[in-house]
Amino acid sequence: MEQHARILKILQRVSGKQVNPGQNESLFASGLLDSFALTDFVSGLEEEFGVTIPDSDLSARKFDTIVKVDAYLSAKTK
């Protein structure tokens, strides 16, 4: 499964909504994520992609769009 679809699956699980946001749509502005849900979303990413995300990276600006999440994970898995 490609990275984008796997990210989307986690987002749908955390937000509890069957959504498909645009690549550059703000996940925070659209209400799919907030500071509360971000911890679960990041834990989901760690589990799914086998990466370690430090607590210092728990920031809205790093995970605000699918593109940013994608880029963050690509940098981690290089």
Binding site: G16, F36, T39, S43, D55, L58, A60, R61
Partner: protein
């Protein structure tokens, strides 16, 4: 020069005419906008003409931050140099913010005329520029005129919304275009903002809220309760009215300012409230303060709760250096911690209309409770309001029927479906632009006449 005053609209018409006439010369338009910003600020006090010096410092810091991101200096490690530059920008803006907050506090009302604006919104906006540059998320502008046009943007400098500098500069770089749809939407926003401010917020303030908060001992518990509800609505219509006018004015200049309110009193918990109330401020707090607090996912409730508490306490103190604002911020911070803990314990949101209604009423009344500290002039006044509420005396003799009517109208207007505005904008686009302009002028005159004593200052203009 308040955004709801006659002189402001004369100024606006002059700026718009010049701005539209120079649409072909994009650079000249930005010079014009920078000049309009300075004229607007000078109208409050000539002291603000010194603001371009602070702006020049941030502009220069921005260029240096960008330069040292790409070039490694030989002697000083570049990370340290960039941190020093960011520290300088923080010192300038937070220093300005603190000075403008503390000077009126120390000197009393007698010096208020010299510094009538606190310029917090300018400082917040400027910090979005240097911090985003530091984080490598933005390219700096090379033109100081462009920077002045954006950083001192007159529609939003006194009370927001707080746009990100990057977004504002991006929009200003685009050629100016005003479609019929945007023109109609702008007129509708300005008209709506004036109605909200002058006919609802000012009416509630003059005829209910100010009286009850100034002399609570003269009123029964039920009247005080109505006064607290009245303040919740007054503040919403005052602030969202300002935002509507600011967004409408910006749209006439081809700029889309971000949304700031989304029916906040319909929130089902306090976290949702902050996603719907003063959205640009809560996003600023999240991105430039909350996210920098260290957190630990092994102890999420503890680490998040303290980050919420301190973020909201600082947010409270921004409104004014007093116990009341500190308590207001602390209450919201604690409530956010409670919601966080609750969400970790019970993952599912409330289901069923009864639970939703209960959650909505609980949230609304908690917000109203905190507004008591926000509105009362002193801690003693806030406690007097609370004592009055606890006295359980029931009478409505001092509240006139029209006041109850306006309260009910305001409550219903707040709950109107959010898509009605777009529908109204689509309808009004069919009306010729000059007719819309004339209708706006008529509306301003009518409201000024009906409002009688003229417009009171916007509440958030004080912050």
């Amino acid at each position: 020069m308040s955004l709801s005053s006659g002189p402001f609209f004369v100024f606006l018409v002059a700026v718009c005419l010049l701005y539209w006439l120079t649409a072909r010369w994009h650079r000249l338009q930005r010079v014009l906008l920078a000049a309009a910003n300075l004229f607007f600020l000078a109208h409050f006090s000539l002291v603000y003409l010194a603001l371009p010096f602070a702006a020049a410092a941030d502009f220069g810091i921005g260029l240096e931050l960008s330069r040292w991101q790409k070039v490694s200096p030989k002697r000083i490690p570049k990370r340290m140099l960039r941190r020093m530059l960011l520290g300088l920008s923080l010192a300038i803006n937070l220093g300005l913010l603190l000075t403008l907050k503390l000077v009126p506090l120390a000197t009393g009302a007698s010096w208020r005329w010299l510094l009538p604006l606190s310029l917090s919104f300018y400082c917040f906006q400027s910090l979005t520029y240097t911090i985003d540059l530091y984080l490598g998320e933005l390219e700096p502008t090379r033109s100081f005129i462009d920077y002045l046009a954006a950083a001192l943007f007159f529609p939003s400098i006194t009370a927001g919304p707080i746009p990100r500098m990057g977004k504002l500069l991006e929009q200003m770089a685009e050629p100016f275009e005003l479609s019929a749809e945007d023109g109609a939407r702008a007129m509708l926003l300005i008209g709506l903002g004036l109605v909200k401010k002058l006919l609802i917020a000012d009416y509630l303030a003059n005829n209910l809220v100010d009286r009850i908060f100034d002399t609570p001992a003269l009123y029964s518990s039920s009247e005080i309760l109505l006064g607290v509800y009245g303040y919740a609505l007054q503040l919403f219509f005052d602030f969202s009215g300002y935002t509507d006018i600011a967004r409408g004015v910006a749209l006439l200049l081809g700029i889309n300012l971000p949304e700031n309110f989304r029916q906040p009193y319909l929130s089902l918990n306090i976290a949702e409230f902050w996603r719907r109330w003063h959205i640009t401020f809560s996003e600023w707090l999240r991105d430039y303060l909350f996210d920098f607090f260290p957190k630990n996912r092994k102890f999420p409730v503890l680490s998040y709760s303290y980050a919420f508490l301190f973020t909201m306490m600082l947010g409270g103190l921004w409104h004014g250096i007093s116990w009341n604002f500190l308590i207001w911020g602390a209450l919201h911070g604690l409530a956010l911690g409670v919601v966080f803990a609750w969400k970790r314990w019970r993952k599912a949101p409330p289901a069923g209309w009864r639970l939703k209604l209960f959650a909505g009423l609980l949230t609304f009344h908690f917000v109203c409770f905190t507004w008591i500290f926000f509105r009362a002039a002193t801690l003693e006044s806030a406690l007097a309001i609370l004592r009055g509420l606890g006295a359980h005396t029931w009478s409505m003799g001092s509240v006139a029927v029209p006041v109850v009517g306006v309260l009910l109208f305001a409550a219903v207007a707040h709950c109107l479906p959010s898509d009605w505005f777009e529908r109204a904008a689509k309808l009004s686009v069919r009306v010729p632009f000059w007719v819309q302009g004339l209708a706006m002028a008529g509306l301003i005159l009518l409201i000024q006449t009906l409002a009688g004593r003229g417009s009171a200052p916007f509440v958030y203009g004080n912050f």
